[in-house]
């Protein structure tokens, strides 16, 4: 393994896997999640407490496997969102300050509804946020591409890398 560079020490990436989440107040970190297909990436950032979190949800509803939701809440939207916010509150984030960004939820060409997981993930997210009076700050959802998502904890900036496109784009600047 190569020895770490000084710059490297101050720019570390924490990878959030599929059906996983991470929350931190360490400004040297960038939270990253790859390969959002029909999955949704949800980032939250409190600019005052400088606390951010990233969640990579695969499926809308935990009722399909409640045991799994217990062990791995980030698998499902209805268990993942509360887990993400709870973890951020522990680091002194406050609900009214939190900015929410969303990416992913790609959708195939399907009129049958059997393959609309991306859409269902997004609908579930909206309904949970509505219930709690929360709004999405910025989003890039749907379409026919998979995406990677990065949350910079120093600035709260959220960037996206869209598969097939060479450059990263900024989804949200705080």
């Amino acid at each position: 393994m190569a020895s770490p560079t000084i710059a490297g020490l101050f720019d570390q990436k924490v990878v959030v896997g599929i059906a996983d989440l991470a929350v931190s107040n360490n400004p040297t970190l960038t939270l990253a999640t790859y390969s959002l297909g029909s999955c949704l990436g949800i980032s939250i950032f409190d600019p005052v407490a400088k606390v951010g979190g990233l969640l990579h949800v695969m499926l809308p509803e935990s009722k399909i496997d409640p045991d799994k939701a217990e062990r791995q809440p980030a698998m499902f939207m209805d268990s993942g969102i509360p887990a993400l916010f709870r973890a951020a509150y522990e680091l002194k984030a406050e609900k009214h300050r939190v900015q929410i960004c969303v990416a992913g939820g790609a959708q195939v060409m399907d009129s049958s509804g059997f393959f609309s997981i991306g859409k269902r993930n997004y609908e579930m997210l909206k309904s949970i946020l509505n219930e709690h009076g929360l709004k999405i700050h910025a989003e890039q959802v749907g379409g026919m591409v998979s995406r990677s998502m990065y949350l910079n904890l120093a600035t709260g900036e959220v960037r996206l890398k869209v598969s097939g496109q060479p450059e990263e784009v900024i989804l949200c600047r705080n």
């Binding site: 399909i64 195939v108 393959f115 379409g143 026919m144 591409v145 598969s163 097939g164 496109q165």
Partner: protein
């Protein structure tokens, strides 16, 4: 058929034929596998043989004393395990490179193919099917993209227009712009490489499984495996999700939309395990 052959023959850089695979595949279902025949087939390809031995000695199979020849590897691991390794090594060789015409970076098509194969195999396993056949078919399903990528490179903007504005699938767009599409080209290529007819048919019709009759089940495993790989984010390149939902694939296999979600969860677990074996897979 002639049209497909003409198209394939015109392409300058065809992917290397995985010659060992179609020879090993029929041996899998023999009740008494002749080990010397397996050794003979594998050693045809020296670098493959070396890779199999090296993989047997890798950390994945840690805790055992090292193997130094292929016969020993087969005896120790069993033919099925060795077949998986051969599949991993020769599959990565064919599917590893970047496919610029599709906006697919190096390693991405391979990752997509492995995820498809894992998902398809999990479904097939539960239905008591021949999992090696399903795994192989699913792994090779996009091989036709390697043939078309070059031609698509210069007409990328048109592909986006056809899919986004005109709502054509990627497959329909290829057919419209190039006269052929990747599924049929892949099927034809595998037939030329002497893969069995059922596998050829499943790849040929992996976007419309019902048309693969009498091999519609095999094609449906590949279709749904491909769908799951896309859902899980392992569908790379521009407009990768421009594919049609075929509810009949679920019907053919007797599965529901909830089953699909359950297989996504199972695939996630299994994929991590397989990635350890197929060590060439790396996260960026």
């Amino acid at each position: 058929m002639q049209e497909l052959d003409d198209y394939i023959n015109k392409v300058k850089h065809l992917p290397p034929a995985p010659v060992v695979l179609p020879q090993l595949l029929p041996l899998l279902n023999q009740p008494d596998i002749d080990c010397s025949r397996v050794v003979e087939v594998i050693t045809y390809d020296q670098s493959l043989t070396a890779a199999v031995i090296q993989t047997c000695n890798s950390a994945y199979f840690a805790g055992r004393s090292p193997v130094d020849d292929i016969q020993e590897a087969i005896q120790r691991l069993g033919f099925r395990e060795v077949y998986q390794i051969v599949l991993a090594v020769s599959g990565a060789r064919v599917l590893g490179p970047a496919q610029k015409g599709y906006g697919i970076a190096e390693g991405e098509l391979w990752k997509h193919s492995v995820c498809t194969a894992v998902a398809a195999q999990l479904m097939a396993e539960d239905k008591g099917e021949d999992t090696s056949l399903v795994f192989t078919a699913a792994l090779m399903h996009d091989v036709g993209k390697l043939v078309l990528a070059g031609a698509l490179e210069s007409i990328y903007a048109k592909v986006v227009e056809e899919t986004e504005q005109n709502q054509y699938s990627l497959l329909e767009t290829e057919k419209k712009l190039l006269g052929v599409q990747h599924a049929e080209v892949g099927g034809r290529l595998l037939a030329r490489w002497k893969f069995p007819a059922n596998l050829v048919s499943a790849v040929w019709f992996h976007h419309q499984p019902e048309a693969a009759k009498p091999h519609e089940k095999l094609a449906s495993y590949v279709y749904l495996g491909n769908m799951i790989a896309h859902f899980m984010g392992y569908g790379f390149g521009h407009q990768a999700f421009a594919l049609r939902g075929r509810a009949e694939a679920l019907e053919i296999l007797g599965l529901t939309a909830d089953d699909l979600a359950r297989y996504m969860m199972k695939t996630l677990e299994k994929f991590e395990e397989v990635q350890k074996l197929f060590g060439a897979l790396k996260e960026d």
